[in-house]
Symmetry: D2
């Protein structure tokens, strides 16, 4: 029934059809049969493309922005978003995910606001900034994941004499698409410049298998900081268990921890999954296709990543985007640690999760 | 920090900034501070607009399509989508919802396929078509809601000498946005032309409060047909209870039933909510804002609907779209029955649901 | 390490052991090794035994109680419990389940109370009594299941000139065992003597797959009455589907519906499962063992039931108890309808559910 | 309607009633009205009583049992249960909870078995025993909680030259009551005598907020060991936060952590709740009544505990039982750490949880 399948039309038939289509258009109607191939493909055909943003490009540009652009009310944050080349006109890394490098100079502050968009920070290098989440200042250090769930007031301040850069991940594209965004400014003056080494949420919640009964109930994860020391130990243990012949890794040489909400055991954020992956030196992973998109940042080591037909050599700080259903695989001689965030929780909540896995070729 | 807030720049500063922005662009980066107002508004600012599609326009165009356009493999269905005037270039009623009128002529058939997109049919008039869902033919009659959950094979056939039109609702825009679509063709020849008056799924599941223990487990709703007779009785009972002074209506004169999955008690579909509303003659409802969008079809009666600043007089068969956070209210002298479908389950699953309600002014 | 396994003890050793055991006893201590066989058997060894209570015995005794014993405050209900012969000194049908015949004479009333114990009524014959549950009078008729969840005020009144008897099922033994019982008297005078043909909870909730959005939220099942007309239709449909070659029965000739809470799709009561079973004429079921106990009442027809080593010929109204893990099977020439209630929800909630099934021998 | 309320009966009436009661008895029936007061009290009236078992009594008796009674197949464990004085004839600490001191001499072994009964070990002093749970040896040290969920094979071995004693908690009474017990012997020879300092389950799961994606799925808690170092740190942090004016304690001077399953965030065991409480020096707690029973063991410090009308002075190792709904309060001059286990998960799963709290009197 596609037009190509139709029998040859007479001039009169064609005129009638043109008239009908014009009437459709005037009535704000669009026939399915002219759209179905693009709308309903046999498997996902994302506009988003595999893409790489080298840290060696990002960081200098962020530093330059630090020199030229003030941070403050209005623009709110000195954050520069990664734009997927397949999504021109948007500042989106994938259809659902926002990834940006944020830069805060010596003694600078970013004022408080809150929004339905969910956010996290991941720190690939540096320290000295505290993110104050609902009155609880959280130190940011290399390897840490810090959460700012939706509608939590947050502000940042750099107490040091050196700048700091990190990665922001948000569900801005998803919230914008859904028309679900609400945003509020907080006070212009920072609520606190305290710089405690450990946040209160960690003191209550960062104890394995222990739930503090007197802690205030929270809708989002009560734990807001996941420290590198724990992440590193957990990944190391998985690879050691593999060496000893015990389960733990997801595939040979490949350890993964997911950052989870200790009050629910579910994903740490409602719309984004966060994970740290560690590949043992000499590992080649099997290609995996996942319905849904992801952004990765190399945390340490070097390797090659293959995304569909694209292949990149990546090292510390490099970010790359993985479109829906693109086969993804890694190869590393030296070993590789990489942080991943994705829209998997959205797909799982809506019954749309789907994965296809190939074994690594030897 | 918006550019308007910046101090007057010198020519050199401006040049430096231009250079920086060009470098951003070359590196596939976009600064947040030039985007934040549009991306992160203080409350939703949908592109979609309130819109009305009169049945008196839709039906004749569908009938004309029946004369000119065959139905069959490729185009798959003779369905004509409602296009929101605020979403030009798309065939979408709202950012997440597809609404179409489907038309099947006498003795026509639409061949089997399945897809991750979730679908329902709602029948505002007519009968004589059976939707065969995974081998279980389901009669379609005025007032009925029929489900085709994701990845269920389905085909339609009209056994009569008269045409039939109905409304299709799908999550096509959401699935397309998420790059979550998978689609498969079924056999070209219909699996069955049976026309049982009651489907097997109803015989197992359409008994109030009774769960058939031997029925096969299903991921989606095992009940695929919600008959007008039950819907009507449930709405009538709510208004009668109101007359007797008992709870049941959502507000004075306003009865609502939600179509639910009897195996979970949750929404009948994973990505769309379906409800039938009945307004007693002489009712004015309070304006309600809901984060998320909806499409309504008047089933019976007449009234005025107000969506934001727009006001429409509506009657049987008319469809209208309600963008996110637009205040919606009704006024009816004669009484009004209206079917509603929305993306509420998406918002609830992702922790984004939000509603604001005003009491009806007298 | 059981004493029988111990090497022959010297007199001195025996004296020392006796002294130790006496010291244990004085200190309120009991050694595991003298207890383990009874306490921790390899599979359940219930004290409760298979037991039958013929309706032809129960009903005349209840009628006689109606002549001799008034109903009113203090004793609260003219209910006579079935006592498992294996549980002497208790009024329990099984360790967890209370089953009683309740009898209310012409114009009699039973005053309001409420308690944490959960209750239902099942009517094997007769009508004319209304159970008023939290102000909503519910008619009781043959084949109906009526709920009184924990802490719901309830009172009964017989409006007719004839007596009525029915079965009460409660979790009295479980609540007593757990020391979880709270009980409150309501007013001595009945709140209502209304006799509506249909209760308000049914008018809101007894529509298949339809959830009333304006109905007040409830912790327990909002639906309090399950009518025979629906139960019968659901069972009949399963057997008809079997005739047509479609799934639906739990085994050949054996249809089952479970009574469920339409607001959760879970069991209709938190501590008891209620089901209706229908065996087609000429059916022999496979023996099933279930961890947990149950009580059955024959609703219609006749047959033989085998419980472990016991075999009974049963007919309308007869009740029987099935201890934990006793193999249960049926044989019926004429067909049999039987109501079952059990502690399955307790076992499922605590992770203790276990079933073993044998196919029916031909 | 209790017999005391009945009008004076004539001799004939009395004879008729006696005849009826005899007929009830012969038919295995018991009238409610003679039972209701005891069966359905206005609030729980447990048979179990408050009880104290001093460590200074328990430990020497366990040591003496170590001299006189071998450990091995048949008796299975050298465990001596605490018997509630209100539950004579049973070896139960409360109606639902088993508490025992277990003692394993130098180089002794307890062979493998598994059962539906759920168990934990809590260590008030000593070390040197490993519990091998499903092939994963778990070291036992002062302050540790070690889990053996239902149907997990487990065996113990003492590798040292000194004996070790600890506390076993099980749901033996509940499982016995429910007739839910299944038990299997494992091999007579120990599967392993390995003594790793850290178990494999801890290496995978004892990282705060981190879920190992490649770890095998488990029905029960995958984490089997909760180490004192973490418990102590979590409690200390709560009291420090209180000092700083922040939330975290359940009442002034009273810190609590619950041991939870990191894969679900629920209780660490399906039928028992485990918690550690810390009272700051000089604290008096408010009296709390809880529906359900508990057993406590003092871990450190001294204090007075009041249970209903009973009052005990307690110190390290002392155990006490708290019956359902008995008001419980503490007073400590020196500070007190106490381990608690209870049947709260059973009450919560069945909708029976209820608590009443009084503020501490100054």
């Amino acid at each position: 029934m596609t037009t190509t399948d139709l029998p040859e039309l007479t001039a009169e038939e064609k005129a009638q059809l043109d008239e009908l289509y014009a009437a459709f258009d005037a009535a704000h109607m669009t026939p399915l049969w002219t759209q179905i191939g693009g709308l309903m493909p046999t498997s996902p055909r994302p506009d988003a493309v595999p893409a790489l943003w080298p840290w060696s490009t990002l960081l200098p540009l962020a530093e330059r922005a630090g020199e030229l652009v003030p941070v403050g009310r209005g623009g709110e944050r000195r954050a520069i978003a990664l734009r997927n080349p397949g999504l021109p006109g948007t500042p989106y890394a994938t259809p659902t995910l926002w990834a940006a490098i944020q830069y805060l100079g010596p003694k600078e502050e970013a004022p408080a606001h809150r929004h339905t968009q969910t956010a996290f920070r991941f720190v690939v290098e540096g320290e000295g900034v505290w993110t104050n989440v609902e009155g609880d200042p959280v130190a940011m250090r290399r390897g840490d994941l810090l959460l700012t769930p939706g509608m939590h007031f947050h502000e940042h301040h750099n107490t040091t004499d050196h700048p700091m850069a990190w990665i922001d991940g948000l569900d801005i594209p998803l919230i914008h698409y859904l028309d679900a965004g609400f945003f509020e400014f907080g006070p212009d003056v920072l609520a606190t410049k305290d710089t405690p080494p450990v946040s209160r949420n960690e003191r209550l919640w960062a104890h394995p298998g222990l739930t503090p009964i007197g802690a205030p109930p929270t809708k989002a994860s009560p734990l807001k900081a996941y420290r590198w020391e724990h992440t590193d130990a957990a990944l190391r243990a998985q690879l050691e268990l593999e060496d000893e012949g015990h389960p733990g890794v997801v595939e040979p040489g490949h350890a993964v921890v997911r950052f989870t909400n200790p009050a629910t055991a579910g994903d740490c954020l409602s719309t984004m999954r966060c994970e740290m992956h560690r590949l043992r030196a000499g590992t080649t992973t099997g290609a995996v296709r996942t319905a849904g998109s992801a952004v990765w940042q190399v945390f340490d080591g070097t390797g090659e990543v293959r995304i569909g037909e694209q292949s990149y050599t990546v090292g510390k700080g490099d970010l790359f985007a993985v479109p829906s259903w693109a086969p993804l695989s890694f190869r590393t001689e030296s070993g590789l640690d990489a942080f991943r965030f994705s829209d998997d929780p959205v797909f799982e909540a809506l019954g749309l999760a789907r994965t296809a896995r190939e074994e690594a070729s030897s």
